[in-house]
Amino acid sequence: MEPQRRPYRARPWGPAAPALRVIRIAAGLVPDQVREDWIREWEAEIVHDLDRRLGHGDSAGRASRALWLRSLASLRDALWMRHRHVRQGERMILQDLRFALRTAARRPGASIMLVVTLALGIGATTSIFSVVDAVLLRPAPFADAERLAELLTLHKAAGLVSQELSPDVAQFWEKQSHLFDRVERYYFESVHLTGADAPRRVRGARVTPGLLSLLGVRPLRGRLFTNDEATAGEPVALVGEELWRSTLGGSPDVVGRSVQLDGRSVTVIGVLPGWFKFPAGTQLLLPWTAEPRLSDGGEDSFSAVVHLAPSVDATLAQAEVDGIAERMNAGNPREGAAGWNVRLRLLGYSTARTDTKAAVWTLAGAVACVMLIACANAANLLMVQATKRRRELAIRTALGARRSRLLTQLLTESIAISAIAGALGVLVAWWSLRAIIALMPPEMTLVTYSTIGLDRRVLTFAVLISLCTGLAFGLGPAIRFSRQRERLAGTQAALTAPRSRRDVRHALVVAEFALSMLLVVGAGLLINSFARLTRVDLGVDAEHLLTVEPILPPGRYPDQPRRRALVERFVQRLHALPDVNAITVSGSAPPRTTVMIGTALEAEGQPPLDGGRELIPVTFADTNFFRTVGVRILRGRAFTSRDVAAETRPVIIDPDLAERLWAGQNPVGQRFRTGPRSAWNTVVGVASDVKVTGPDDRNALLAYYVPTSLDFIGSPSIIVRTGGDPGRIIPAVRQIVRDLDPDIPLERVAAWEQMFADTIMRPRFILTLMSVLAGVSLLLAAIGVYGVMAYTVSMRTQEIGVRLALGARSGEIQRRVLGDAFVLVGCGSALGLAASIGLSRLLEGMLFGIQPGDPMTIGAVTVAMGLVAGAAAFLPARRASRVSPMRALRSD
């Protein structure tokens, strides 16, 4: 009799139970698809083996133990199965990748467009990220940087900070030990380095010995200062890596070597690592000395770095400081508008200036827009591709491909494309970063503690952004098209895109144009503003002026008679040069004019101005200044040689200051002062308006001139007026300096125009980058319009053929296609315009002479966008008008 057939189920009890439990546990490792079979096979063998063992007379316990031991091997088998599954997955991805590359190669035009679009986006994003990272995100690598801060003088009314603290303010804050448990000081001191290849002026600083250990810097070679060295004023120095390599030969035996600093022999005791550029890019550190120094300000001010006491919350420290300052200001006012106010600049965060930060963030926003446009473009192109491939996808579905399989394949394709684009993008970034660094204003490079370039962080970012891009532009189309499984291959339905998809594509183009409009308006405003900045009338005939600034080493020229003698000889030799018409000598020539901050101006007999907000440039002028530079005296007189020592303190003011203090009156003979305890100045003349600090003098309108002479000048700043091109006499000037004293370095010899151009480096930097980004965005948006219109035309070939066959004229067809494009572009531009009117307010601080909503700029940009869109749509439109009706109707 045939035994009854019933499905067997392993008994979870009895001698086989322990072994079966092991198998159940191991089964967790086995991939889902084969798990059932795997369990069945192992269970069957165990049960069968148990029967066999019991049949051979083994005891139940013995058989159970033997089986349990044997079952342990199932773990290894299960692990192997898992491993095989993973490898199969990898093979599948490789297969998808090959397929993706083949697919891309079949449509080279579209693929190149995709890759270029994304490479531009990724390249731009990566290079700007590199800047944002270095300037804003990466904190100084100091030890415990989160609790370190610089103490800055805060001019509340002017909203400005300055690096220096006056001694009484510093001493007061240093005593606040409940706030700061360590305070270290430094001040800048430029020194004259000789003994190396060429005499050189080096910006250095004197630091208290504890500063370096507080910041946690370790020397690259040699050692740091000891406390004794500081107090004894030992002639020792630490040099930065850059100075060591560039000027001191970069040899390891530099430690212990002597160099000549300001004519004194100083021993180099160590080399500081390249990243350490504190304070503010200095390359030479000397031990702190309390000796009085030769400073322009007269006051021995210095800067301080503090370490917050453990009980102080870093985020609340500023509030505490403000509270104390307020009480001090009320009870014991100090002279000067700053009072006791200080600002803590935390070293754990970017130390860039606020306006620099704003500029860099603007760039980051702009590049994000470019990236969005690139992604929208790529999604659009991919969607067009996928629509063309619907037949292929439908066939694969019909052959049994699962949706997840199609989804992974489509995503693999988009990620493969973005990976290629990412690699190209890194090349783009590498190339563009070199240009960016060359353009970068010093205020940005000084606050970065790492080199701006393609380091590991930036490359990681590039990889991530490529991956995200691949997902961002690939996911939408992939989900859409893997959903079309119900569509059968070859049906007519698979040939025309459904309306909803067309809408998505159109929406993407509209968005692209809106974003692009935003950027182009921004760039247009900056270009317009920069053009105004370069056209600003400096108030002088700057074309024929040359600035010459030799540095007189205090060691060789310790007293005024010696300095004076040298400068006199120098000026004499300069006069002897052909083509030199006039020469003026002062301590600091425009645009590096001394600027007074937080001054409370007060005209005699009037209440003090509600001031403190202005920056007041004070220019020291000798008797030749006005004639040489070409400043006209509008009223009164120029300086005479007697003015320098005159008790009346004669000054010459500019028309803005005259207007502010004595509106409508004659200021000549009137007196004013710059603080309640300052002496009165007597106005002897009014000079024509000169932009002494550079073309953008919005914050430094009120200027005046103070007489000076060779008896008051440390290192001279000489302005030469020439008959022709001032650049032509530069070699002769250098030769004169060498003849007079080969150890004198020429700090600067440059045409006046060049020096003024340098004052607008930041606007130029931002403007250039914004313009490039706007250009890229416009190009991408144009590609978007072209792609969509070309696709629409190719999809509507049949319809167009019918129209033409029914008598439509080709011009009409062309107009229709162009009209469609302009509807899209018009919508995008309108949206972009609305957004840019709102967002361009963010640019307000960077604009000069125009308003954020400048109608001229916006008008010009709109016209330009229209032209670009027209050009992009023209080719598809022409193709549409040339459709042959016969061929169109014959086609599938």
Partner: protein, 125 residues
């Protein structure tokens, strides 16, 4: 060209050896397992007992040979497996037979290592 069963009949000899090399290198344990199957051992534990290799070694070899198309595996008919679950049994196909020849050529001492073929257990239907 051997044409004994449908699956591998059209493959030239070199292909089956290539398959073997690709999916399961002809190591000594693999060779023993092949010979054991050729000698008539069909079920996992049988092969384990006959070769003296561990289950953790034999099963991955069987799976590799299966992946490589040298084996065919199928389930024991329920008729044979009354009161216990049906086992999976393994049989060589044409490629496998060639691989056995290759194995014996490469490891001449192998034939004597695996016990002689058993005749007791009939081939399942």
């Amino acid at each position: 060209m051997v044409r004994r069963d449908g699956s591998l009949g059209e493959y030239p000899i070199s292909t089956s050896i290539y398959q073997l090399n690709r999916t399961a290198r002809l190591t000594y344990p693999t060779a023993i397992v092949l010979v054991a199957i050729a000698n008539g051992y069909r079920y996992g534990f049988e092969i384990i007992d006959a070769t003296g290799l561990g289950a953790g070694t034999v099963y991955p070899i069987l799976r590799r040979l299966d992946d490589g198309g040298l084996l065919r595996s199928s389930w024991e008919a329920a008729v044979k497996a009354v009161d216990r679950p049906p086992r999976r049994y393994y049989r060589l196909n044409a490629g496998g037979a060639l691989a056995v020849r290759e194995a014996v050529n490469r490891y001449p001492g192998l034939a004597g290592f695996v016990p002689t073929p058993r005749s007791a257990d009939p081939t399942p239907a």
